[in-house]
């Protein structure tokens, strides 16, 4: 890595994703542009989950940084046969970096971690109400009963296993979560 590398932002020494990097990443994700976009979102979500479950305080920013580093390797001509495994390797490295940084800001982080969600519950609930109302009747009834009733009895009534019932309910829950997130982002 040279100091006069135009891709390096001097002072911060942090490589920013440029058009070339973005194109290289898209091409590596899939030959079809739409599919590449979907794969990008999926990989970003995976990275975000990984950082979140590792207890990192800024999972989405770290996910972007991992994707930036991946793009950088591609523009440098590194051949990467398994993109997701390589991304995982970068992520592990970032987790270690974050862990070291975490020790130095432990007190602040502890305070941050102890924050409870405040003030947004009502808007989240309002968004959820709208999203629930937008569900097909069968799905709305299912998720309502999933939380309100005995799941073993409910699964028997549907003629499916409790696990299958849970999978259905969780898919609806995920759909609701995405719907609520979109609505809250819009406001």
């Amino acid at each position: 890595m040279r100091e006069d590398d135009p891709k390096i932002s001097h002072g911060r020494k942090r490589w920013e994703l440029d058009r070339e990097g973005w194109e290289a990443l898209m091409a590596a994700l899939a030959p079809d542009r739409d599919l590449a976009g979907q794969n990008y979102e999926e990989l970003r979500r995976r990275l975000t989950d990984l950082f979140a479950w590792e207890g990192c305080s800024l999972p989405d920013q770290l996910a972007d940084e991992a994707l930036n580093r991946l793009a950088r390797k591609l523009t440098e001509g590194v051949v990467i046969p398994h993109l997701d495994r390589y991304a995982f390797g970068i992520a592990r490295f970032l987790i270690q970096e974050d862990l070291r940084a975490r020790h130095t800001r432990q007190a602040a982080l502890r305070e941050f971690s102890n924050q409870k969600p405040t003030g947004r519950l009502e808007s989240t609930t309002a968004a959820l109400e709208e999203c629930l109302a937008g569900l097909p009747d069968a799905n709305r009834r299912l998720i309502e009963r999933y939380y309100a009733e005995d799941r073993t009895v409910l699964a028997r009534e549907f003629g499916i296993s409790v696990n299958a019932l849970r999978n259905r309910a969780m898919r609806i829950r995920e759909e609701l979560f995405q719907c609520v997130s979109r609505k809250c982002d819009d406001t």
Binding site: A52, D84, F88, A91, S113, A126, L128, E129, L132, A148
Partner: protein, 249 residues
């Protein structure tokens, strides 16, 4: 094949570090395992929000699953879900229930005063009916009236307010406690179940003065099927307060 205990052990950092790293590498490239993990996380946050986790898990969830704003958004969603779709299943008894029991006792005390008020309201209704008064508000119809007071903050209540409507009740009178400073005018109150609006009252009358001000709603009881209800008070078309309660079968 991964069982649920392993998923939870991963999410709550109960695995040895080497095992944990191998597990992350695995779920990162296995879509089905990823989905299982996301469902296990949703289960944990639902259980946390509904007070259904052990004391130890409670601590671990706060330590490992709520460290970022992204995770706290997931928690807020779980809380909203618990408000709109509260659990009606019996819960495990544990330390968190102590607070719930205390809240229940407060509720019983509030209900006692409400029952006494019921009698007075019935008398008032009989008088109004005999006078054949036409009200600008939705008029309390004939028949029995069941009144209940919902304090402010029921939306955040983990215990939930549950009630069984007695037979012969035609009208459900709800008094909604207001937060200090909220005793302005309200355009409407919207009652919904699972996001579906079942009743709207316009305008909403206020009773009492601060700090005991209450918004008053009269709801035909035939509209109240068993389920979990949310009430939204609106002022100039903007939601200003939420309440929730459950009608039992």
């Amino acid at each position: 094949m991964v069982n649920r205990d392993q998923l939870i052990a991963y999410l709550l950092h109960q695995m040895a570090e080497e095992e944990r790293q191998a597990f992350s590498e695995r779920w990162f490239v296995e879509p089905e395992l990823r989905d299982e993990l996301r469902m296990a996380e949703a289960d944990l946050l639902d259980a946390y929000t509904r007070g259904e986790v052990s004391r130890e898990q409670h601590k671990q969830i706060e330590r490992y699953l709520l460290a970022s704003s992204i995770q706290r958004q997931k928690l807020e969603f779980a809380q909203a879900l618990a408000t709109a779709l509260p659990s009606a299943r019996p819960r495990k008894i544990h330390w968190a229930m102590v607070g719930a029991v205390a809240a229940g006792l407060v509720l019983v005390a509030a209900l006692s005063t409400v029952i006494a008020r019921n009698r007075r309201l019935e008398n008032e209704l009989a008088y109004l009916q005999s006078q054949a008064l036409s009200q600008p508000q939705p008029a309390p119809p004939r028949g029995g009236v069941y009144a209940i007071f919902l304090p402010a903050g029921t939306l955040r209540s983990r215990t939930g307010i549950r009630l069984s409507l007695p037979t012969g009740v035609d009208v459900f009178h709800l008094e909604l406690g207001l937060e200090p400073g909220q005793d302005g005018e309200f355009d409407s109150a919207v009652l919904s179940i699972s996001g579906r609006i079942v009743f709207r009252q316009q305008p909403v009358s206020l009773e009492g003065a601060a700090p005991l001000a209450r918004a008053s709603l009269w709801i035909p009881s035939k509209l109240l099927a068993p389920g979990n209800y949310t009430i939204r008070l609106e002022s100039s078309g903007t939601p200003v307060a939420y309440y929730s309660f459950t009608v039992l079968r």
